[in-house]
């Protein structure tokens, strides 16, 4: 595409076998700039007179603030200003669930008279460069009146425990029993087998490689505060800034540059983003905040720290009769905007039954506050845990019933669709059984079962493990409304415009940060408009450009954002056909859009280029048919009105456990997955692999830890073990395709599945390697020292 000013992506773009762009591994449009250093991440932005800020943060986990002295800070060479909470007097961030079981707490932008976790921001220091800003932070003096740090859920629930917020009772933010069954105990009493597990999962940080950051500037001409933020949710950041600064929304513009990963951590609003914006407004100078890795690990957002006590009753054939669970989620010190700290308990309680038929279900789920960094949704949100719980229950029951663990799963897998579960969710068609069968077959064909039976040369023991799961995606407004947030995400809006030369740009409310939407959404529109994807420029992440959007999280973008693009591009195509039909003296229904042409279906020689049609629509509008407005634009909203659409997969893992060190090494990772119609296979595979890597990280390596005083002990990447290429294996993927019947493209979301399935599959493989030792592990991360100890230590 010369002359478009657009870089061609490397490699040839070819249509999929079906002759459509959907389904083709179109090279990514994002790549050329990212490969040449021309990407523009927020810290790459520069401005004349730019100021840099850093935050004075609490050094203690729970305390009253007696005195905050910024006098010395203000005298530091290069420091321009320093502000406390009282100086800025900003509104607070309050996220609400309209449920009686939820207690509302607020998060101030800067802490005032009380701090609730190590790293909580107390003051903002603005300086000529980032170095001087840190010098200023160093010079600040804070006097604390120390309180008791609540660092574990058990401690939080103790009678008479200090409350993290005065509003809370038993430090409980949310306590719900969405499914209760008072007589379920009788089922357990009568069951042939009751399997029980006690599962704990470690606290994690999503660790996008680019930490958070923003650049805020006052545009004096437009009288608008422009904030460039590394976020997944630009419109929600705009709302938060407008509310806290008491500005009308139109006076705030949020622009998202290239984003170096998010994984959920950037789908909530950061206090620092609001504070930096406030200071830019106050000083009328551009202000940049770039989070460093220590703050990112200790003071951004965490996730995943949960405890389950769960049991399932089975009949003698292995059929599940009942499921009961008590779920506790350590949500940290604050409830985040807009999602609240209820996300994890809500997700866990609703989705626990997963891919299995569960006739009776009782669950209690709680969100418990502690003096640790707040939690945000992280890729998979509770589903890595619930899959782990269910898959452990399956393994345990199989052992007790002397059944094959995969056969036991087969007895229970949902096979008839749509299936409405005890949890009120309707599951659209998937390939649950087939994915399991194929995954097992693959590992058998590769000879792993034979190898497992042989002793190894190096003394390691091989184990094979599986996880079967589904991934609810494409949460629409209906599904989200059941959470009872006051802010209900769901739909998305797309706009498409063809300019007078026939080039197309489209806007979307989703906000890509590695998923390649500039490519995939262009593919979706390309099929509608008969253009190559390279002719379509995707614009996103700018609140002045996009009507409204919910950003990118929860694997929603392909299903819902893609749906909106499909509809909008379809509407634009309709208008093009009407104009072309008029000019070609034909019926609109007979016009098809192919290869940049509008042509008569049966007489292809009767055709016009889209450029010619567009020229008429704008520059010679007198030639338009009567009643047709000039211009070629269309907008469309799309929503999913059901429970959402479910991708599914089975993961198969072969691990080698070294009993001497307690370390497990993954030898083989195989995924059979079904996400409906694949828009771009290469991108889908990338999402699966990256997801699996994060799941393995949670299973074997990563854990955010605190000491008893609430001091973080994993504040560097030396202690927080993000795995490297030598820890992550080759991951092979087989695709099944059960199209979604109600998304416009047949696609299901799939951004989280890899992460969801991996911990359970890895844990099962390690347990298989431990067979015969009497040791069974139910928690992650699996720490080598713990394995060593469980195996009897040195005795």
């Amino acid at each position: 595409m010369s002359g478009t000013g657009i870089d061609p992506a490397p490699g040839e773009a070819t249509l999929s076998r079906a002759g459509r762009w959907i389904g083709a591994s179109v090279p990514r449009r994002e790549d050329p700039r990212l490969l040449t250093g021309r990407g523009r991440f927020v810290d790459d932005l520069d401005r004349v007179g730019l100021l840099h800020c850093a935050f004075v943060r609490s050094s203690v986990a729970a305390a009253g603030v007696e005195h905050l002295d910024l006098a010395a800070t203000r005298n530091v060479d290069g420091v321009v200003a320093a502000y406390s909470a009282a100086d800025l007097a900003l509104g607070e961030l309050t996220a609400i669930l309209e449920r009686p079981e939820f207690t509302v707490t607020s998060m101030p932008i800067l802490a005032g008279d009380r701090v609730r976790y190590v790293g909580e921001p107390l003051a903002i220091v603005v300086a000529e460069d980032a170095y001087a800003a840190e010098d200023g932070v160093d010079a600040a003096l804070v006097d604390y009146r120390p309180g008791t740090a609540i660092t574990t859920m058990d401690q939080a629930l103790e009678a008479g425990a200090q409350q993290v917020h005065a509003e809370l009772i038993e430090n409980t933010v949310l306590d719900l029993e969405p499914f209760s069954d008072p007589h379920i105990g009788a089922v357990f009493d009568a069951a042939a087998c009751v399997a029980e597990v006690d599962v704990r999962t470690g606290r994690q940080n999503a660790t996008p490689l680019e930490p958070r950051g923003c650049l805020a500037e006052w545009d004096a001409r437009d009288e608008q505060l422009v904030v460039h933020v590394s976020t997944q949710v630009p419109h929600q950041v705009r709302t938060a800034i407008a509310r806290c600064l008491r500005l009308p929304e139109r006076s705030v513009r949020v622009i998202v540059p290239d984003v170096g990963g998010g994984f959920g951590l950037k789908c909530v609003v950061g206090r620092e983003e609001v504070a930096a914006a406030a200071v830019a407004l106050r000083l009328r100078r551009p202000v940049k905040w770039i989070e460093d890795r220590r703050d990112s690990l200790t003071a951004s957002f965490h996730a995943r720290q949960q405890a389950y006590r769960a049991r399932a009753a089975f009949d003698a054939d292995g059929r599940i009769l009942a499921l009961e669970a008590d779920v506790r989620c350590d949500v940290g010190a604050y409830s985040v905007f807009p999602f609240t700290s209820g996300v994890e308990p809500l997700m866990a309680a609703t989705e626990l039954p997963g891919v299995y038929r569960v006739p009776r279900y009782h669950v209690r789920a709680r969100g418990i506050a502690t003096n640790k960094a707040p939690t945000a949704p992280y890729r998979g949100v509770s589903r890595p845990q619930i899959v782990l719980v269910m898959e452990r229950l399956m393994e345990r029951a199989a052992r007790e019933l002397h059944l094959d663990a995969l056969d036991l799963r087969r007895v229970n897998l949902i096979e008839e669709f749509p299936y409405t579960g005890i949890n009120g969710i309707t599951y659209d068609p998937g390939s649950y059984r087939a994915s399991l069968d194929l995954c097992e077959q693959q590992l058998r064909d590769e000879g792993w079962y034979d190898r497992r039976a042989q002793p190894t040369a190096d003394g390691t023991v091989l184990g094979i493990g599986y996880a079967c799961f589904n991934e609810r995606t494409g949460y629409g407004t209906e599904a989200f409304s059941q959470r009872k947030m006051t802010v209900v995400p769901g739909y998305d809006i797309a706009g498409v415009r063809m300019d007078s030369d026939g080039t197309v740009s489209l806007t979307t409310g989703t906000s890509s940060h590695g998923q390649g939407h500039e490519t995939t959404l262009a593919q979706v529109a390309a099929d509608q408009l008969g253009l190559p994807p390279t002719a379509i420029k995707v614009r996103q992440g700018d609140t002045d450009l996009v009507t409204y959007g919910w950003g990118t999280f929860g694997s929603r973008s392909a299903a819902i954002g893609g749906g909106a693009v499909h509809l909008a591009a379809g509407r634009l195509g309709d208008k093009v056909r009407i104009v072309a039909a008029h000019l070609l003296d034909a019926e609109a229904a007979d016009i098809e859009l192919v290869d940049g042409q509008a042509r008569h279906r049966d007489q292809p020689e009767r055709s016009l280029s889209l450029a010619a049609v567009a020229e008429i629509a704008y520059l010679r509008a007198h030639r338009l048919p009567k009643g047709v407005d000039p211009g070629l634009t269309a907008e469309a909203a799309f929503d999913v009105l059901t429970s959402g659409t479910f991708s599914n997969a089975t993961h198969g893992v072969v691990a080698a456990l070294d009993p001497a060190t307690g370390q497990a090494q993954i030898l083989r990772y195989f995924v059979v997955e079904d996400c409906g119609v694949v828009i771009n296979p290469r991108i889908v595979d990338g999402q699966v692999r990256g997801g699996v890597a994060q799941g393995i990280a949670g299973a074997l390596f990563e854990e955010i830890r605190y000491d008893e005083q609430g001091q973080p002990t994993t504040s560097t990447l030396i202690d927080y073990l993000v795995p490297t290429a030598t820890e992550i294996p080759v991951i092979d993927i087989m695709h099944l395709e059960t199209p979604c019947t109600f998304t416009e493209t047949g696609a299901k979301g799939m951004g989280e599945g890899g992460t969801i399935g991996a911990p359970a599959a890895v844990l099962n493989a390690v347990n298989d390697a431990l067979r015969g030792t009497g040791v069974e592990l139910d928690s992650v991360p699996i720490r080598p020292d713990a394995v060593h100890r469980a195996l009897g230590g040195n005795s």
Partner: protein, 285 residues
Amino acid sequence: MKPAPFTYHRAHDVRGAVESLHELGEDAKLIAGGQSLVAMMNFRLARPSALIDVNRIDALRYLRRDGEGLRIGALTTHHTVESSGSTAALAGFGVLSHAARWIGHYPIRTRGTIGGSIAHADSTAEWCLLAVLLDAQIVVRGQVGERSVAAADFFHGFLTTALEPEEMIVEILFPRPAPHAALSEFAQRKGDFAIVAAAVDLDVEDGVCSAGRIALGGVDAVPIRVPEAESLLQGAPATAETFRAAADAAAAAVEPGSDAHGDADYRRGLARTLIERACAQAIAV
């Protein structure tokens, strides 16, 4: 994570570096590869008032063999040692180039230096461990001249050494070849500092160990030798049974501490396993 201010000084020879150390006072520090120091400065855990950059003292980048043994200039990078395995200077010292591959990663090894590693004195650092194992001499230069400190006396405690504030390490001298030496270590993530590292150096002839040395890192504040285990190697057949007995003795002898990466018992277990593995490798070479 930006470092606190300091003044920068560049040394062009050892004398200049040592003089600057004297003039700039005890808050001044040398910077070699910067692979340990700068990270600590970025966290503001180290706040030297002045840095003396010794990287341009090219005279300290060498691997040389003479009658007294193998001499490695303090500014020799890990990578240089790693890629000099087949040179004459390293004949009989293959363990050094093998061990270098355990240090961090390629871009760390191209910058980090052996002198910096010894000065930094992490108990699981490969060079510190091998210095103790192979009875290296640490040659240091101060205002008053040069002195040589035996590795066994050099490491005093966690990140502390016999180095005086105004002294600089100029050379590491390994007095005797170690054809049957090997290093084995365990970290959860490859390239990280080991939780426990074990290095052994065996004198074997006709299948019998006439003597053997064992050093462990990660079981004490400094790398240590384990005489209780070494004595079991003396005159014993070079077999798996002998190595197991020595490893058991070592595990019983050490008193490791506990931290987030593992408790004392785990470290003991690792020490035993890693000694056995290192012995097996040592006789295989």
